[in-house]
């Protein structure tokens, strides 16, 4: 086993699938010789050639169209959107076209496309680079939306995403790319899409989170432990579809829950989780389910982001409200 950062694990997953399946193609802006602006595709063009790992002209919409067309000729495209803030330029290809391809062709054309993209805040990017837009994707029937929080999960989930017969949006939190290393098997393995993972067991409160917020939640859980609260942290890993079984099982065990997301509060993933808990497990609850989110403003400029992003302290405060309700 090797110690890998999340970006190395992502690179390793693509390498694995480029080796396994000659129909896998990796492309996007600067992903070839340059290895991607974050080096996620480092060395892949050298190893697999320009036919399979290649740069595109600068045009997100065109990249989406390319992926759709390539899938129609039997390829399994892994397209990169350089920063997920640029996704609006390719919304039609993703939500308007790819997500409904299987449906509008009566089941004939599925779109086995993986859309990889860095997102998330805390790394002082310019405007329109850091937004958490997973809710936008999750609102579109036909898409699966995956967000890993660890190097181990990142590799297994990306391999599953590439092998999936339907379009998968795979979002990589920029702050997690190199923040820590973890043991990651060099051989191939998969983690099923749509399955959450209990990152920390507990009995008094469930925290549901994903992406960078898993780590803030774990920090909060540790602090709360010192104060005598046993807190469970469930990493959703796939935000659409949600792992309802895991969510409900955890709520039934702890009887209290909060949901944490880095995105703004309005119309988000956390709201979906709360709604599902309310519909399915309200009689198990000892307290209202509360959310920890960013405020409903535009994502702030770099110097202001740390004041805006939810953190462990915010999580602790909300957790205590629910624990003492």
């Amino acid at each position: 086993m090797a110690q890998m950062t999340m970006i190395q694990a992502i690179n390793d997953a693509m390498k694995t699938e480029l080796k396994n399946d000659e129909n896998v193609l990796v492309f996007g802006e600067d992903v070839g010789n340059n290895g991607g602006v974050f080096r996620a595709t480092e060395g892949l063009q050298k190893e697999f050639g320009e036919e399979r790992v290649f740069d595109t002209p600068l045009g997100e919409s065109g990249i989406g169209g390319l992926a759709i067309g390539l899938s129609l000729t039997g390829f399994r495209p892994v397209m990169e959107i350089q920063f997920f803030g640029f996704v609006y330029e390719v919304m039609d290809s993703i939500s308007g076209q790819l997500a409904r391809m299987q449906f509008r062709s009566g089941g004939k054309y599925n779109g086995p496309v993986t859309i990889r993209s860095p997102f998330g805040g805390g790394v002082a990017t310019p405007e329109m680079h850091a937004d958490s837009l997973e809710g936008l994707m999750a609102a579109q029937p036909g898409l699966t939306v995956v967000i890993p929080s660890t190097p181990y999960d990142a590799k297994g989930l990306l391999i599953s995403a590439i092998r999936d017969e339907n379009p998968v949006v795979y979002l990589e939190h920029m702050k997690l790319y190199r923040s820590f290393r973890q043991e990651v098997p060099e051989e191939e393995y998969t983690i099923p899409l749509g399955k959450a993972d209990v990152k920390r067991e507990g009995t008094d409160l469930s925290i549901f989170a994903y992406g960078a917020m898993v780590h803030e939640s774990l920090k909060a859980a540790e602090e709360l432990e010192k104060e005598g609260h046993s807190v469970e942290v469930v990493d959703l890993r796939t935000v659409q579809p949600l792992d309802i079984e895991a969510i409900i099982a955890s709520v039934e065990k702890t009887n209290r829950a909060i949901v944490v997301q880095e995105a703004q509060k309005q119309a988000g993933i956390a709201a979906n989780v709360v709604a599902e808990i309310t519909e399915r497990a309200i009689l198990s609850l000892e307290a209202p389910v509360l959310r920890v989110t960013a405020p409903d403003t535009i994502y702030p400029f770099a110097q202001g982001e740390n004041a805006w992003l939810p953190n462990a302290k915010d999580i602790m405060e909300t957790a205590k409200k629910v624990l003492t309700f």
């Binding site: 193609l25 036919e51 595109t56 002209p57 045009g59 919409s61 065109g62 989406g64 169209g65 390319l66 992926a67 759709i68 067309g69 390539l70 899938s71 129609l72 000729t73 039997g74 390829f75 039609d92 290809s93 308007g96 076209q97 299987q102 449906f103 509008r104 062709s105 009566g106 089941g107 004939k108 054309y109 599925n110 029937p141 036909g142 699966t144 999936d164 017969e165 339907n166 749509g194 659409q240 579809p241 949600l242 792992d243 309802i244 079984e245």
Partner: protein, 414 residues
Amino acid sequence: MVIVHSLQCLTAPIQLRILTSVEFVSINTTMFHNTVDKGEVPKMAAKKDKQFDPVKTLQEIEDKFEMVQILNEEGEIVNKDMDPNMSDEDLVELMTRMVYTRILDQRSISLNRQGRLGFYAPTAGQEASQIASHFALEKEDFILPGYRDVPQMIWHGLPLSMAFLWSRGHYKGGAIPEGVNVFPPQIIIGAQYIQAAGIALGFQKRGTKAVAMTYTGDGGTSQGDFYEGINFAGAYRSPAIFVIQNNQYAISTPRDVQTAGKTLAQKGVSAGIPSILVDGMDPLAVYAATKDARERAVNGEGPTLIETFCYRYGPHTMAGDDPTRYRTSETDSEWEKRDPLLRFRKYLEAKGIWNEEQEEKVIERATEDIREAIKEADAAPKQKVSDFINIMYKGELPYNLKEQLEIYTDKESK
């Protein structure tokens, strides 16, 4: 049965500037097909008095885009050098398809008015642009149609009954049969252009000798995806053919409002791809340009942009568009004189390979086929929510749809 408008009122020949074959070749091989090598610095102007004149340069480029015509309104070959010299058999087949398509249009409009068809975008007037361009394709080529391009799908193998189901809004209308290389008609103007670039790149990577063929209209050239599509295909030199059916109006918006460009074909220059403007009411010009584009594409010479200058006689769609709000009957009759079927009929009759009897037979066959296809469409099962759920994903359904499938299946069984 009168299927095409009369030519009685024809006065002076319409002025079309025709490129000689020499100019045609020069457009194809030199002017718009240069390669920019990595890091190449543009050539410096030699003398001060030859410094770049942006206004003149534009004018020179625009002037190059003269419209190509081979068969005039009288059914005479006016450009022998470019005559594609189709066999008699092919000429008859092309005429047959155009007549058939005109009947399909007339019947579709009438079925729509009777409430027996749904969304329909009329095609009359555009037969040369649609059918003659398609005629240059092979079965293995892949078509990405716009919503008006249903005839090309049919001639590429889509059963007529499915076209009707698609029009009515039945999901089975999009379930393209195996071996028919078409995508369901595109609704989002321009999206088909970027997808065509993708299919073309796929063919290129697989070494398939085939092209991706896509269609948009004059309005479509204003969309960003139009440029991204031709630019991506150009950058990779992929085998794609991009057709602009310039029928003069995007719903009601006239062509002049779309762009400052004198022609739409010249937009290909910005992407560095060979581009040509043809008389879109002339089946031979459309066929010759498409055939040439296809040959170059499968020979690894990259994509081509073709503007077919044409007209739709009918409304934008049958959903309430009233062309009298934006066109005059004078304009209509000017265009009717250029009708593609009339001129092709004259040409074929003069050759002695077409007559009224043959035409009547095609009309009868089309009418009968349409009747049968409507019957088939009528027999399609009523759509259920469980059908929709089952075509959402390939493989296992996510939990939300699994639950909803159970609920709807139960409801539907009662």
